[in-house]
């Protein structure tokens, strides 16, 4: 119970502390922090438009957060969510483009499935390399990120390029688009958010209520003990990377199907890397990750509005940095405490 309270308390206190530090910085640059924070809150939740924007941004962040968080639970540091998201987006686009005339009931799940497969396949490469050769996933996933990034740039400025404006692929078929829940001005809130929240619950069930989840966690805690207990490490590594990649791939697919309806050059925009901070803030817990993603998204949308009262957007980067530092530092502190106890 105590641990559970900590898990809640640490991120919340970190956010409060980070906002206080940022307030000092805002004062130092000659602005009023109360005005700034009011603008930030209003910018994130002040009206339907703001709220829509926040939820749109939350949708992919939940999934990339889950992708990284799931890896962490299995003891894997998947830095490749960015690349997996790109591959998911590309595959979903290529499939979605070719589904003209197929009813939505079939086209939507099919496009989504290929998005998931894209991310899954990409992450499995790193998983396989780790299981077979011991190549560290941090190195391989970073390399795979670059390959995915350059591959996508090539595709949308070459074979898939269409029209003028931002480098982009053709639109996916109308039947493969996710239906919007709400249309506000030039923005559309799509049903993608339902899918990402649902994914969080699925991950919760998988981790907490199934044997597979138990094995994943066992390998994460202590791989050798798990192997001694009859769990195959290499099988688990490949599987965990695949699931992690599937979640990131789904993030890419939802951005394509719900948001842009095509693949754009900067579709991923660092969201895969944001997943790392979100997983940390959310303490690798699926439900925690939902709130962490909402927090980061709200900070981002809020910061855009904050600029209207003269506070630069970078303040939010500072807030984010401090939160992550504190959440990570908490672990350092805990580790030190535990070690001291063991020595005695």
């Amino acid at each position: 119970m105590n641990r559970r309270i900590w898990a809640f308390l640490v991120p919340i206190l970190s956010v409060v502390f980070a906002l206080i530090v940022a307030a000092v910085i805002i004062v130092l640059i000659g602005q009023n922090p109360l005005v700034a924070y009011k603008a930030m809150v209003l910018g994130a939740f002040g009206n339907v438009q703001a709220f829509t924007d926040t939820i749109i941004k939350t949708t992919p962040l939940i999934l990339t957060g889950l992708a990284v968080g799931f890896g962490f639970r299995a003891g894997l540091f998947n830095i490749g969510a960015e690349g997996q998201m790109i591959m998911g987006g590309i595959l979903a686009t290529v499939v979605g483009m070719n589904l003209r005339g197929i009813p939505p009931a079939l086209a939507v799940p099919l496009t989504m499935l290929f998005g998931i497969l894209g991310g899954m396949a990409w992450a499995s490469i790193a998983g396989y390399l780790k299981a077979k050769t011991g190549a560290h996933e941090v190195v391989t996933t970073i390399m795979l990120n670059w390959i995915a990034s350059h591959l996508s740039s090539y595709l949308i400025t070459g074979p898939l390029a269409v029209g003028s404006g931002t480098p982009k692929s053709p639109e996916i078929a109308p039947s493969a688009k996710l239906p919007p829940i709400l249309t506000v001005g030039a923005m559309e809130l799509t049903s993608g958010i339902v899918i990402s929240v649902l994914s969080a619950f699925l991950m919760y069930i998988l981790l907490e209520k199934t044997t597979t989840g138990y094995e994943v966690k066992a390998v994460g805690f202590n791989p050798y003990a798990a192997e001694y207990g009859g769990i195959s490490i290499s099988k688990n590594i490949v599987m965990c990377m695949a699931i992690s990649g599937a979640l990131a791939g789904l993030a890419g697919a939802l951005e394509v199907m719900g948001q842009y309806h095509r693949f754009l050059g900067t579709l991923s925009g660092g969201k895969g890397f944001d997943g790392i901070s979100i997983a940390l803030i959310g303490q690798n817990h699926p439900i925690g990750i939902i709130f962490a993603a909402l927090l980061i998204a709200a900070l981002r949308t809020g910061s855009n509005n904050m600029q209207f009262v003269g506070v630069p957007k970078h303040i939010v980067t500072i807030v984010q940095g401090i939160v992550i530092f504190l959440v990570a530092a908490d672990r350092i502190v805990r580790t030190i405490v535990i070690r001291k106890k063991v020595k005695r």
Binding site: Q49, D53, I56, K57, S149, H150, S153, T157, G163, S164, G165, T166, P167, K168, G185, A186, M187, Q259, L264, G265, T266, L267, G269, G270, K271, R300, T301, S303, N304, N305, Q307, F308, G310, P312, K313
Partner: protein, 359 residues
């Protein structure tokens, strides 16, 4: 009495609500020392002259464009969307806010569509890039020059077409074989990516690298400064010039968009300037005076929309003959006798015209 107070409040609020300009940057943001900064400089100039209000809103990511433009459209009379990457977002938002005026920098309207409230500007980047390409080919000592692009979008590519055509022209006229290395950072934000790429081109034998990569270019210039000062053991302008004159070699970057020569005096050979500031200044003035007209404008050398920087620091090391040739080439472009390729096809088919310098 009550009516009077309402009227007063209305009057005051009308007076307070002066003409307002909001500029929305792309993800490169202010501080790119490139087109975002340039557009902002033009707006600032207009702000001072007309005594109006202007704000800048920076975008983090692609998904910020629409919300930021929408918010700006609600607040301002005139909204700037800066950068090619904002094309789609601009037209989606402009349709929703027909009463607000919009200006797009580096943006071409979608085919066959015109909006009365949107004025867009593009530039003949290839023309100024041609001049720096010619200059680079004339100045290289290693026979290799480099090009660092951001994301290969049309404005970046036009810089490359012009640059390569300029090199080719020099090669043909002087029977030389200067090679061009090409690379893209796939980014407009991270100076480190620009620096890495420039360093690798220097390692491959280039001694002059031209960049068209937004804020990545700060790293390209940094790379040139670092390599050059490794030779001279100093980063003073005087030492750079002296070293170059004594040893006849050095490392240079070529800047883009704004006059970037000042960023590393002596290590930036020249800059291919795109006068986004002129465009933004004019657009604000027109909107303020009520002469704003929707449409599309292309600014080239003839319109003073692009050009080569005055080479404040490096002019001394460029042979007089090359300077004179550049001026003559510029004149040919203005007259329309020298047409610089604007597309890959035109570049492939580009035949160097017979140019006879009158000196």
């Amino acid at each position: 009495m009550r009516r009077l107070s309402i009227a007063l409040v209305l009057l005051v609020s009308v007076l307070l609500m002066g003409f307002k300009v909001v500029m929305v940057t792309d993800v490169g943001g202010l501080g790119d020392k490139s087109f975002n900064d340039g557009t902002w400089a033009g707006i600032q100039r207009a702000v001072k002259e007309l005594n109006i209000e202007a704000k800048v809103i920076q975008s983090y990511e692609q998904s910020d464009y629409i919300p930021n433009l929408s918010k700006a459209a609600e607040e301002a009379d005139l909204v700037f969307a800066v950068g090619f990457m904002m094309t789609d977002a601009l037209f989606r938002v402009a349709r929703q806010y027909p009463k607000t005026l919009f200006v797009g920098i580096d943006i071409t309207p979608p085919k066959g569509q015109t909006f009365p409230n949107v004025l867009t500007f593009t530039f003949k980047e290839q023309e100024c890039a041609f001049l720096v390409g010619y200059l680079a080919a004339a100045m290289t000592k290693t026979g290799t020059v480099g090009f660092v692009g951001g994301i290969p979008i049309p404005p970046v590519e036009r810089f490359r077409y012009g640059f390569e055509a300029g090199v080719k022209t020099y090669n043909t006229l002087y029977r030389k074989n200067v090679k061009v290395l090409r690379g893209y950072t796939q980014d407009f934000e991270d100076p480190k990516k620009g620096k890495d790429l420039a360093m690798s081109q220097f390692n491959q034998g280039a001694d002059i690298v031209f960049h068209a990569s937004g804020a990545c270019g700060n790293g390209v210039i940094e790379a040139a400064r670092e390599r050059f000062s490794a030779l001279t053991k100093s980063s003073n302008l005087v030492d750079f010039i002296n070293y170059y004159l004594e040893n006849n070699r050095g490392f240079f970057a070529i800047g883009v968009d704004m006059d970037q020569d000042y960023m590393a005096p002596g290590a930036v050979l020249a800059s291919a300037m795109k006068r986004v500031d002129t465009a933004s200044y004019l657009a604000v003035t027109w909107a303020y005076e009520g002469t704003f007209k929707g449409g599309h404008m292309v600014l080239g050398i003839a319109e003073a929309g692009v050009g080569i920087s005055p080479m404040k620091y490096t002019k001394g090391i460029v042979p007089n003959r090359v300077i004179a040739e550049l001026v003559y080439l510029e004149k040919l472009m203005k007259e329309g006798t020298l047409k610089v390729p604007e597309t890959q096809e035109e570049l492939d088919a580009f035949k160097v015209p017979t140019i006879r310098f009158p000196f």
